[in-house]
Subunit: 480 residues, 4 copies
């Protein structure tokens, strides 16, 4: 999926499969397939670590799965279990050294780790480790978590106890998969910010950021890892352990709006259905007289269907997306932003000429892409363009893994909907209210975090959240 | 766009832009962008030839545009005009030597040629050339056409006259772009089997297989090249010339069903609208009691919308397509065909559980992919699956550029719709009638060829259409 | 071998192996190994064509053998016989389209061709072909030869007769290997300008530009192909045929000076021994009082040994060559010529400090590299540097395959040895006399061409030797 | 240089250049050039780390310098100072994670480290670090050294004090280059096992494993870093510091025999001259009646010259080496060892036919390559082959960085010279005596380590030298 450059990105997808030693499975291939279904969660880097009787083989690099792996490589990675990771990088961290899983050796053996989320006390933890002589090869939270687990392992009877102790020290959003010579451990932060599902493939356990990855390997979805839960798979046996941490559930609402695949079931809710409800709510809250509803493909499709249904307006294809867009080498920074939109989206004049359009997008962040789309629709003959966003306006930072731009770049900071409409050249603009969003999800049993929209965060934030960026970064240039 | 392996492919897209010498344009970049919008017409190979004051620079290779070209390469190809080609290859012809454009030198200078279509008398023409000492570096029709143009050029006053004489010798389907040191020539066969549009970008003329490529470079669509028409652009001047060839228009109906992009206007008809009408016709002709309509993405989307509208049934997302599928290295030939479908499409259980589904696909050719999709929908809880194809059943070969499998592989040869339904595991199967298809297009003014469905071909076929495959092929292994 | 940029280059090496159908050999691997021993004859491009029961598979590209081929590729090219080519390109012709072998199909089947040499009437022949409608994909002589063979094949009973007729039309220097579905043909021009040896590997016949390639595959050297001789290998049988062309033997003397490998036997003469004799002759003709003899590695080594032996002076290592130099990406055109020499050669101060040196190089062409070497030796402490060249001074063009720079770039044009010494900063400079060179080779039975030194050419030259460069070249950009 | 597979390899070359901030130099390019002159010391991996005002950019990968770097990459690495590394890997450690320099961040900033040598107490140190919670990303000594420096940095006033404290803990052979935000530190173990030279380029200081690398950048050789010495370059100022460690100098004698380039000056001795003396000593100690002396190129060349001079026999080229051998893809493990030798070396029949040859090689380790060379010379007509090795027989392990095979693979373990001759098919075999080797170097002022020949090691070895290999290795598969 190619996201309009105006969109938000969250970080990472993870996948793991654990079989008893000697099981007749191909964990590298299964992890590849699972990650492939999670590729939308991160396109910058990827990696797979395989455990073969205690020896861990790890391959990772910048690039898509299809670029980093091939059949021959996967065949060269036999084993009993595997974990993998796809990564979206935030600005400045695009070094290959930050690719995951990370694989390290320590006094008790080897450890591979894949992590999705963002710690809010990473800087503080890093400083403590460094004050004891720790050295860092990367700028990722994962290396901090690995150090902490290893440090606690020295005082613990087991790796799971070390993970439990680690969870009492790290704060923020995290879903972890840790692979030791004999065990696979899955853990989720007590707020449950990010998704992590459990499935089975035959007798073997699977963990995946989204249930669509369980489908992709032909597995059966069991349930989500609970907030604060630790799961241990050893020798084919599944054990759940309580971290002892309690917090109010606050699942990221933006996962439902944009990041997850529509065919995933998260927190018991179909992502597709949640999006349709958002579209329907938009029709109720900010309906407008119009002729047709059009989605910005692909992320606005489900909400557009919901809007159309609720409003009774026809849902029409207004924009065609070029499916061959990859990481285009024609850099928008070279004054060709307009080119980028034109390469991705082409208006369907026949459908929109002379029409009053309700244009549904998943979100409007900076507004630059939206402005170009509105302008392209008008050139193609649209009479009116009313933009509706299924995400509430972004106004605040996210500390839990969503890459929200700085406030000065957010179109909704300091602007009314009418001012935004003027800015975008639209006849009207409306966003879903964050209270409505919360209610839609809560009605289906999911209490969510809407911090980036509302400014209300579910946990207390440390004073210096970015202290760990104070050091001068080592930059590794990758081999491309 | 990744086509289910069960689908048909036609061959090639072409694009050209011609400016007066010294015009301040970047023809290589424009051709890249135009071809990029035509990438769905061919993913195997691509190429661009640029004319810089008579010197032609040509780059081509197997691969997608994004793989064969980059910004640096495009910058190294300055010039006044350019032509380009994307290629889908039929079995056995996947050599890089068959990539286009072909660029040759002859007694009067240089010539670059891009061609979309299929000649029915290629073997005969090749034999004639070989009997006079001609040597062939490839197995493509384009080299035959180039030879013929060059041979006629010796007796002609101009390149356009040579093209005209050539058109009186070659038979079948062709859209040509020929670039000589001072001119660009576009030509289309007298039946107009394949599409070729004319546009303008500023003062410069554009030719493209589909109008969406004209949009992609920011150009204005003018009109189609007429069947049998020759167009000459020289020094910024546009001239139309009559080949003198007359034939009944017989545009490929399968272009409307599947191959063209929905946002293109072909023969004055919106592809999207034509597809909706096909879907509506299916509802009328073979409607069935059901709960929902689902498309096989992406090629069934427009027809599904038409069916839903006509039938009053809700149009629901039943299958999610993974957007990162490229040329996957996991080869279906390795007994993993099932894997391939699972990697591409995931059923949306929440939407289909317990439902009676009308499943709309653009076509059912071999039936293998359809069978897997039907089975996946059933596993995901569908109560009934009624498959409807907007293409009539394929029963005959195409001699004009569509890659129809051998008859023994075609599911509709020798099977009734009921037998096909049994074969696919569907509750019912129905195809659009070829007469209906013809009428839908004719009603909008386009007389079409339905030869592969009906067996009625618009022109007489030579006795040995494949005579030119009798020689032992030279195979070039490409450098990947 | 990395040649100082000041050196001359000749064009190409060829290799072929012919076995009866069904023979248990791996002709692609043998050709690879044979070409690998000939890599010094051309580093720009290479290719191998294999004949498998009439189907020819050809792979070629710009690059060294190790870059273009690997084990997997060679394994994918089974067959009965093969021909191969390594290519050094002259200015402007570095397109991949000019790589060899060329493989074409014609009315009688397929033909692959590898050619070493240079035709003097290529322009004329090309024009004739073009006047009959011929089209050219490259600017190489090989395509002209292929056309001519194919044209004559139409009137001949056999491919060998067509080759014979072709030899009566093409003029200049050529060694040919032609592979038809059932035969391999080797042919050499009547002057025998370039080398071509015959060997056997088991029951199979080998052809190679130099005997070292026969050694490299474990074969046995039989004899050279005679000037004007045509050899046919069919079904394991070897036949010699007389072209009927007679001319005075005039083997390229520069092959002995520089281009051939010292371990090759050419025209019955050991290259190493010929070089030693040149060195000894330099000592006799232009000896000088000195302390030591040093070679410019590697091409001056044999002559230096000969000089040392003849003069009684010690032969000492004065310059160390870096063995990892490949096609360095640090381009001398970027004002870093000095860098280039420094990367390649380092003076051995310990050996040369305070010494009067006789510095032996194979040739001094432009003088730029020599000047830098002299200067480096002086900086490293040399007291005197007396440069001796085993090649006579270059003063005239070569029409037979050696890439001699334009006269204005040749240091010896219009300068006395004393002036050259001043130019290079050497204490003295002397070249072998071209009469002496001729005598050295003639004494061992080889009459040679010294045209580039003396201006006396063994055959009459056409008026417009470069007529075939008059057309505007098509340039193909290669895929790197 | 391509080493016969029978040869020994030592590990690594290092290079560094330090300029004051703002100096107008290109440290990445200079380091590239310096490492290029050291490429013979390691061909498996390479890397460069550049310090740009405290920010370190590091690029490293498996491959030759020409493969890992290009002009564009070097240009993207501006800075004030740089260090680099070329690496030869011992069995099992060929992971890209072990490539150097390593670059880490710690509480005081960043640190890059390049290291040549081998610690004998690495296992012990690693265990200590791990017991305090340390995690390891690689299996290299360098990561252990980095950890130790960082740990000591916490208690030290300066990085140089931390290096000094580290030197009191690490044992074995090491030459270090450490780059902190403001300083470059060079250090050498108290025995001075491995070479490290100091040079100047303009006002800037250079460190290099061999003086030939100083020549390569146009610098001036100053002196060697003394055993136990620490050198600090800060802001253009050069300071020498005493580590306080004292030990008897024991420079690796095999550096002189084989590893160093002949144009380097090490420990005040010309490598070329030392090798000539070894050859002369062989003539004295084990001279034999013969006709000619031949070297195995390139490593036997200098000793052969010495033997020839001392014996009065002519020094003749007997084997020609193919200069295009790289890391050949034709794996000897595939039963083609013989092929490998044939691809590399071709006997010069003309020079050796009927001759009694003294064949000089730098060393005979396993004997497999030597056996093939002897056999090839006989096939080419040699009457007698007397093999002489300038290295004494290898009989013991090296703990200081030379990759000596296991004893069961060493031909000299448990065999007399006569038995070895029989094994190799030679008429006689003789090795230089290790006492003679020691004396040759001592006479020029260099006390050396001959442990691998004599079993006498200059420092006490820990009980379990390989304790650090006890953990299960994490393997990283590189991206090729």
């Amino acid at each position: 999926m190619i996201y309009p450059s105006d969109s938000l990105h969250e970080e990472c997808g993870i996948f793991g499969i654990a079989a008893p030693p000697g099981a007749n499975i191909d964990p590298a291939l299964d992890t590849f397939l699972g990650l492939f279904a999670l590729q939308h969660r991160g396109q910058e880097a990827c990696g797979i670590a395989v455990n073969n009787a205690g020896v861990i083989t790890c391959r990772k690099n910048n690039g898509l799965l299809m670029e980093v792996f091939n059949e021959k490589i996967l065949e060269s990675m036999p084993g009993d279990s595997a974990i993998g990771h796809v990564r979206y990088s935030t600005a400045g961290g695009g070094s290959v050294e930050n690719a995951q899983p990370i694989a390290v050796s320590h006094i008790k053996g080897n450890l591979a780790l894949a992590h999705n989320g963002n710690l809010v006390n990473a800087g503080e933890l890093r400083r403590e480790i460094e004050l004891k002589g720790g050295i860092f090869h990367s700028t990722s939270d994962s290396e901090i978590i690995a150090y902490t687990i290893v440090k606690e392992r020295l005082k613990s009877k087991s790796i799971e106890e070390a993970v439990q102790r680690t969870m009492h020290q790290i704060k923020g959003a995290y879903c972890l998969l840790a692979m030791s010579p004999r065990k696979m451990i899955a853990a989720r932060d007590p707020n449950g910010f990010r998704p992590l599902s459990i499935g089975m493939l035959g007798e073997n356990y699977i963990f995946a950021s989204e249930s669509c990855a369980i489908d992709a390997v032909g597995g059966k979805f069991l349930r989500d890892v609970e907030p604060g839960e630790i799961i241990i798979v050893e020798n084919g046996n599944f054990t759940s352990m309580d971290s002892g941490l309690r917090s109010e559930r606050s699942f990221c609402s933006f996962e439902f709006i944009y990041f997850a695949r529509p065919d995933s079931i998260i927190e018991g809710i179909s992502v597709e259905h949640a999006r349709r409800k958002m579209g329907a709510a938009l029709a109720r809250e900010s309906g407008v007289e119009a002729d047709i509803v059009c989605a910005v493909p692909d992320s606005g499709l489900s909400a557009a269907a919901g809007y159309a249904e609720a409003s009774g307006l026809p849902n029409v294809v207004g924009l065609i997306k070029n499916r061959y867009i990859g990481r285009t080498f024609i850099q928008p920074s070279q004054g060709q932003r307009e080119l980028e939109v034109r390469m991705k989206l082409n208006p369907m004049s026949e459908n929109i000429r002379g029409k009053r359009i309700v244009l549904i997008d998943d979100s409007v962040v900076r507004g630059t892409t939206s402005a170009r789309i509105v302008s392209a629709l008008r050139e193609a003959g649209a009479k009116e363009v009313h933009l509706r966003s299924s995400a509430p306006p972004f106004r605040f930072p996210c500390y839990f893994g969503t890459d929200v731009p700085d406030q000065e770049k957010l179109i909704a900071v300091g602007r009314s909907e009418a001012e935004i409409a003027t800015f975008l050249g639209a006849n009207s603009v409306a966003f879903l209210r964050h209270e409505t969003l919360y209610e839609i999800l809560a009605a289906d049993g999911c209490k969510s975090c809407t911090g980036c929209f509302s400014g209300d965060y579910p946990i207390e934030l440390p004073k210096e959240t970015d202290a760990h960026f104070a050091f001068k970064p080592i930059m590794y240039i990758n081999n491309h």
